[in-house]
Amino acid sequence: MDPAAGSGALWVGLRRRSANGEGGRGTRRVRVRCRRGPPGCRAPGTMEPAEAEFLAEKELVTIVPNFSLDRIHLIGGDLGPFNPGLPVEVPVWLAINLKQRQKCRLIPPEWMDVEKLEEIRDQERKEDTFTPMPSPYYMELTKLLLNYASDNIPKADEIRTLVKDTWDTRIAKLRLSADSFVKQQEAHAKVRWGRLERFASSVLGVFQMPCDCVGL
């Protein structure tokens, strides 16, 4: 299995059998080892990408509003005051909503810059260990910000590619180290180098006894 395959291809294998070779009648696709159930009903012990995104949306990002509003007192904390033209920090879920209503302009976080990301990617490729990433939610943040606010972010496509490359490299490393962990039947592993993304635990799936470890 290609260790650098994206997360969508992890546990779904497709077997296709076609009688006439054209994909018409007689074609049968069988999904093997598919672990995705309806959202919210999956077994405890795993995290869906949507939930990782939910957590990522709590991170703070800077916006420049074009309206004014005095402080709002949310259950989670206070926000504001909002003055047109003055940057203010808000959680990502609010920033995206305001952007969709065209009430603000998003300022990309300082790590979302082509040179910095190239550096990180190169370092990740050189080292065997994990490089510290600028934010534990870099993957989700990139996806969200580039989907909704790509006009506010310079060189959006390059950034997307760089982040995806870095992520692929990290996932491959994660799988290799988890593989060796299982093979050597270790009882404990410490992530020494930097911090893993939240989504890493769902990518690896649930670790049961070494013999029924799925996906490795």
Binding site: G40, C41, A43, P44, G45, T46, M47, E51, F54, L55, F67, L69, I72, L74, I75, G76, L79, W93, L94, N97, K103, F181, Q185, E186, A187, H188, A189, K190, V191, R192, R195, L196, R198, A200, S201, V206, F207, Q208, M209, P210
Partner: protein, 194 residues
């Protein structure tokens, strides 16, 4: 609340119920809801508050749903644990959850009896649910992040050649370890499952 949600999500067994957190969150949500109904002015403020309420409500319902899934999965063991716990120990089920679990057990027993057991020879008509329903797998590995420094955690060996050894957990570090080893730390809040 979020800490409790994440811990519950990743733990293989049902954790302690946290009625204080849930009550506090529900109270805040109701309070905010009432405020919004009264104050109809300021479209933006209202919608921002509304969005936040929805997000918090999602976390709360996901937490409760996760607990219910675990109760349904492990119901005989959960009820057994509840029956055998000592007086001073905190309960793992809230009163409503306890009622749900008992009802679920009664329903399952009735169902099994009506569908299959009643047609079997008399000496086979009892089924021990405790033995037939799988126990939660406390040996599964979990990822965790350390919130408070811990020393001398004993790690049991996997194979016969290894020996047991102790490790120290530093604050802020991340580990992958069997759930059984750190279960008491999760209960006390010294580590956070991720």
């Amino acid at each position: 609340m979020e800490q409790a949600w994440l811990n519950e999500k990743f733990a293989p067994e049902l954790l302690e119920s946290k009625p204080e957190i849930i009550e506090c969150v529900v109270e805040q949500l109701d309070h905010m809801d009432a405020n919004l109904k009264r104050a109809k002015k300021g479209d933006l403020k209202v919608s921002v508050h509304h969005m936040e309420i929805e997000r918090i409500r999602y976390v709360l319902s996901s937490y409760l749903r996760c607990r219910l899934v675990k109760i349904e999965k492990f119901f005989p063991h959960v009820l057994e644990k509840e029956k055998s716990r000592a007086e001073g120990e905190p309960s793992i089920l809230s009163p409503e959850e306890f009622a749900f679990a008992k009802e679920y057990m009664a329903n399952t027993e009735t169902y099994l009896k009506n569908v299959a057991l009643k047609h079997m020879p008399p000496n086979l008509q009892k089924v021990s649910l405790l033995k037939s329903v799988p126990k939660p797998n406390l040996d599964s590995f979990v990822f965790l992040r350390v919130l408070e420094r811990q020393e001398n955690i004993l790690v049991e060996p996997e194979t016969d050649e290894q020996r047991e050894y102790t490790i120290d957990l530093e604050e802020g570090s991340q580990h992958l370890i069997r759930y059984k080893t750190i279960a008491p730390l999760v209960a006390s809040g010294a580590v956070q499952l991720i």
